[in-house]
């Protein structure tokens, strides 16, 4: 089967564009951020597309007002600015209101992790999982490919709650061949059934986990890979059932570790299930990344390259 490489945002926006023909309640709001696929949308639906300018706080506030009046709103911006410049607007106007009122706001942040590698630390987004996860009433979607992103369109319209969609900024190959392969209610998918060691990854890092699993199979090592694409809410017991078949769990994320990100999420699952599974957290240590270079280069500097991850896996296996 042909693997297609596409940007999540393009696929998602194109699908929204199609839905807007029949669904008059959809409103798309951008903080002066685009996509090739957005051009046709903003041309066709001038009355339901809005560019608020480079003003993320107002993006959230305007979107809240629209959603309070019943519109299905997509608020679109660069991920670190959407989540961190406008964090208190998201807290007060989105998370807090949604506990009392039905509001369907979909916060689309583009540029998860190191998507904007060479743009430096202002554009890196290593905190978003941590800070968005702490807000009650918010659904967090962290897709690994465009197939999932496309599948999520339907969910975003039907589930009338606030959501944060963290999209990678780069076009990525598909991981899923059919949308049916992923269950949005479960929130995760075991992409590879392995033994002893299981890697739990999200977003871009799922690609790396799959690649490593494929490399290791040539060396007769079969690791498990789980793609956690809905960070909140997901079926915790079901995830634990899968994890519990292994001896060790490695979390892999393009985010800070030991602060509430994917690693803490998995660690919380293990705690609540009184599990003795060993856990290794792989991500960024407590420092911003000023180094210049490709995403792979930055991974290497931060011990997230294939070799470093394989070494952690092998060390685990030797200790067992």
């Amino acid at each position: 089967m042909k693997i297609e490489i596409k940007a999540m945002r393009d696929v998602f926006i194109e699908e929204i564009y199609h839905r807007m023909h029949d669904d008059n309640s959809i409103f798309f709001v951008s903080a002066d951020f685009g996509s090739p696929k957005l051009d046709i949308l903003r041309e066709k639906f001038k009355d339901r597309f809005l560019n608020v300018g480079i003003a993320e706080q107002n993006l959230i506030n305007i979107s809240t007002g629209l959603a309070l009046e019943g519109f299905t709103v997509y608020a679109y911006a660069i991920a670190p600015f959407l989540t961190m410049r406008a964090y208190e607007q998201i807290r007060v106007n989105v998370a807090l209101h949604s506990q009392l009122k039905e509001i369907n706001i979909n916060l689309i942040g583009v540029g998860a992790g190191l998507s904007y590698d060479v743009s430096g630390p202002t554009h890196h987004c290593l905190e978003d999982i941590t800070i968005m996860r702490t807000l009650p009433n918010l659904i967090i979607f962290s897709p690994s490919d465009w197939v999932l992103a496309q599948k999520f369109v339907d969910y975003s319209i039907k589930v009338k709650k606030p959501k944060y969609l963290r999209f990678d900024g780069k076009p990525l190959p598909q991981i899923y061949h059919h949308p049916e392969e992923a269950d949005l209610v479960n929130g995760f998918k075991e992409l590879n059934k392995g033994e002893k060691v299981c890697v739990v990854a999200t977003g871009y890092m799922t690609h790396k986990a799959v690649k490593i699993a494929n490399l290791l199979i040539d060396r007769y090592i079969n690791i498990g890979v789980i793609d956690l694409f809905i960070l909140k809410p997901f079926k915790e017991e079901l995830l634990f059932e899968l994890l519990n078949k292994y001896d060790c769990v490695i979390t892999l994320e393009e985010g800070f570790i030991n602060k509430g990100g994917l690693d803490s999420l998995v660690s919380g699952v293990l705690d609540r299930q009184n599990s003795n599974l060993r856990l290794k957290r792989m991500g960024f240590e407590d420092a911003y990344v000023f180094d210049m270079g490709s995403r792979e280069h930055l991974h290497k500097l931060n011990h997230l390259d294939e070799e470093s991850i394989i070494k952690v896996i092998k060390d685990f296996l030797q200790e067992l």
Partner: protein, 275 residues
């Protein structure tokens, strides 16, 4: 005495009653921001008892209601007696402000019938109101969106994002009222960052501006009516010049009035003295 002066007299009596009720609430809930609430009394009275805004306590989601966003949440204690009087909730709830089991907080939120949004954190209301205003236009709903802002709140950057937005998008169904009581928490606003000339700032951002004495109910009523019915394709702002702590002499001259409480034992005497 024509029908208009009868109405103004009625509004004055209501304002006196609301001011007294505000002090009574402060007596039982000392954490309420009484000075900030007292400056907004006549604004609330004109809007509700003057029938400037359309509302239905029996149908909070009525599509044809006017939306009223109280951005300066701190000052909204004065609205509690009004909402109770109109039947949004039972009057006895006013005795429970800030108490266990009550839905009436010392700073209000949208769990209270009659409040559209939650605004304990300043600077959010105008942007949300802009979104509502735009939504009503797109839905073809002709009703208005009112917003109460504090002048101290205008230091928040998000307010200016919204001011720019409203003017540019000609949100002519949006009517903001600035309770211009000149005092923020630690000082007079002008000693922090001088907001004047405030009217010019709004005009430059393409708003229609009117200025009134915010304690003169007749001026307030006439200006609000005129702005509500104005067909100019601009957002409108009424700068209501007020006195923080209005009605309590010790607060009226205090640059720290925002944080001052009035001792419960002094309140009955103050209420008696109000005219």
């Amino acid at each position: 005495m024509g029908p208009h002066s009868d109405l103004i007299e009625f509004l004055k009596q209501k304002a006196l009653w609301v001011r007294k009720e505000t002090l009574r609430i402060h007596k039982i809930a000392q954490e309420t921001r009484v000075a900030s609430s007292l400056s907004a009394v006549e604004i609330f009275v004109a809007l509700y008892y003057g029938k400037i805004i359309k509302f239905d306590p029996a149908n909070l989601k009525w599509e044809n209601r006017d939306r009223f966003i109280i951005s300066k949440g701190h000052g909204a204690i004065s609205l509690y007696p009004i909402l109770a009087d109109f039947g949004f909730f039972e009057k006895q709830e006013l005795c429970k402000v800030g108490k266990e089991g009550s839905f009436l907080g010392c700073i209000p939120d949208c769990i209270i019938p009659g409040f559209e949004t939650t605004n304990g954190s300043l600077g959010h209301g105008l942007g949300v109101a802009c979104g509502i205003s735009l939504a009503l236009k797109r839905k073809g709903v002709g009703e208005k969106v009112f917003v109460l802002l504090g002048d101290g709140e205008l230091f928040e950057g998000a307010i200016w994002e919204a001011i720019m937005f409203a003017g540019e998008h000609k949100l002519d169904n949006l009517i903001a009222v600035v309770d211009n009581n000149k005092v923020c928490m630690l000082d007079y606003c002008k000693n922090v960052l001088d907001l004047e000339p405030l009217d010019e700032k709004f005009r430059i951002f393409k708003w229609k501006v009117e200025i009134v004495n915010g304690h003169d109910i007749s001026q307030l009523y006439n200006a609000l009516m005129a702005l509500r019915d104005d067909i100019d394709s601009k957002p409108k702002v009424l700068i209501a010049n007020t006195i923080k702590g209005k009605g309590v002499p010790s607060l009226e001259t205090d640059s720290l009035s925002h944080t001052r409480n009035i001792k419960p034992e002094e309140i009955d005497l103050l209420i008696e003295g109000l005219k």
